[in-house]
Symmetry: C2
Subunit: 136 residues, 2 copies
Amino acid sequence: MPTKVHQRTRSDHASEVAEDYVEAIADAIADRGICRAVELVNQFGVTHATVNNTIKRLQRDGLVKTAPYQPIELTERGKRLASQSRRRHEIVQAFLQKLGVSARTAATDSEGIEHHVSKETLGAMKRVLDNGWPTG
Amino acid sequence: MPTKVHQRTRSDHASEVAEDYVEAIADAIADRGICRAVELVNQFGVTHATVNNTIKRLQRDGLVKTAPYQPIELTERGKRLASQSRRRHEIVQAFLQKLGVSARTAATDSEGIEHHVSKETLGAMKRVLDNGWPTG
DNA sequence: CGGCTAAGTTAGCCGCGGCTAAGTTTGATT
DNA sequence: AATCAAACTTAGCCGCGGCTAACTTAGCCG
Ligand SMILES: [Mn+2]
Ligand SMILES: [Mn+2]
Ligand SMILES: [Mn+2]
Ligand SMILES: [Mn+2]
């Protein structure tokens, strides 16, 4: 069954942009009360046109709600996905730092790694953060 | 600053398919002396047409060499990329298992994670495999 | 040799996630 | 109220990595 391995990776990538966007939108709303597209432009280093297209897909998929020239809001589903993604991201990043990796590298690497971490692996990382390194 | 984070992830993804393919081609050649497209079809769970397109891109990029109806070979660059990718993949997979993750999950998760692991993080994982868990 | 099957090729299509260029809306400043 | 800059939208383009359908080649076996 090595076939399924790569299919899982492809499926991870299909939800990756959505996870990063809802997380960023939730952060902006938490920080400034509102999320405007220009913040996502800066956050992700892409153009306004790209943000627009992406937001349209997210709206189609029921994760965000917006209207022309209006701020971007999260649906309930979007909020749930954002908080799950945020929690997973934080655990991965903290784990890498606990491993001895610099904060800067942990921030960079965790941004990609987070999307490929299964429940089981996340649990193992969390356990280390809570209880220290495994014995043996 | 945070902008570049996502650009790194996007750049990781741009080389991901190439890394997985040259690794698979090198494995096939090591195991059976030859790599035929059909092996990649099975390995990755995609169609023959997709493998064909991908191999054309890899050839364009100087990683593989082939001709119609002939086996697929690696260039020197392809061989170097394959062995680097293989080493990194093995370290990530072994590290996850050492963390207590099952072999099956380690195989699945490492297939995506490997492409986002920087030199620094790889070094930290290797250190654990060689010298055990960090102190503290 | 002829046929059949597996392997490979080609054409044409799709959605995603990027981009540029050009135009529109908004809201603050004067 | 008019102006202007920033924010936003839209149209049109691209390459990647998927797919199906139809065809071709290679090679084995009767
Ligand atoms: Mn994230
Ligand atoms: Mn991410
Ligand atoms: Mn991989
Ligand atoms: Mn990835």
